[in-house]
Symmetry: C2
Subunit: 202 residues, 2 copies
Amino acid sequence: MLSYARPIRELIEQLERLPGIGPRSAQRLAFHLLGAGPERAENLAQALQSLHRQIRVCEECGNWSVEALCPVCASDERDRGTLCIVADAKDLVALERAGEYSGLYHVLGGVLSPVEGVGPDELRVAELMDRLERLDVREVILATPPTVEGDATAEFLREILGQFEGLRMTRLALGLPVGADLDYADQVTVARALRGRTEMSD
Amino acid sequence: MLSYARPIRELIEQLERLPGIGPRSAQRLAFHLLGAGPERAENLAQALQSLHRQIRVCEECGNWSVEALCPVCASDERDRGTLCIVADAKDLVALERAGEYSGLYHVLGGVLSPVEGVGPDELRVAELMDRLERLDVREVILATPPTVEGDATAEFLREILGQFEGLRMTRLALGLPVGADLDYADQVTVARALRGRTEMSD
């Protein structure tokens, strides 16, 4: 019984370990890269090698960054009175993409999860407290995801941030996604959309 | 507006160019590789670099190979009287996996496709003729895929191989896939399964 030549097999094995890529996709990708010539594979290899060599964690907010400070923290055009706390750097990018926010961020590096052994010490909570003492923050947006664990994390932060007097604490609005079909929305989302209904302006 | 740091963006761009990987998956894969630490990305990078450095085309059959001859051509346990002609090296692996065939292969490198400008000169047809003159082949299995182009390629080969007297030429059977639901099979397949029906043995 013949199988793939060793270098092909090794590439398939590496690709299979990526999330969402099964044995068939891994095989298809490997043969695609074989057929596409050496340059494509080499470019991808170099992008992979640059990743960890060039990317580090922003000393201030925990975002991925090439410099010691990420572009948000380094910018002097951001409102330093608002701090948006996100679970993950991906969430930061999603918020930036919305183009609605001009404050600073703090990346926790996850959410509290007793099941997975993630407590406050595993998250960048001490760094958050330190920043709040240093900075002159008026509002903290608790933008952890609207899941059980994200809600629990926001609740935990609300409690420990209570020590900063006069600090406004907000959470992202829940409701129907824009463009959604009411019929397809889950009942919890519809309930939250009803509860959070807003006055129509003229 | 902030986007991903450049090394992340470059990896996402490279990943997006792979078949079946859209912007969202590329983003998810890049962040997975960031989170998984440098070793995973480095291993994948090395597998990619080894691919074209170590893999070449078997001088004899056109299969992917590390050596000058692929394992099938180099083996002295294969039946050298049977030659199975496949469009692609992937098809060769699929046939090997079935564990039913012990002859040699010939990889065409595609199928005839006037639309895409693939004629006999773009395929390894001259090499096939050369091998049939050199080798002592009794049977040729035309295992190009059961598609319009694969059928046309098999038909083309049947004609030009007519010059080899006494050469048996066969084509893979068409019918229902094992385990298939008749109800879900397309009508052309059901028609071929009926036409190709076989006697039940005791």
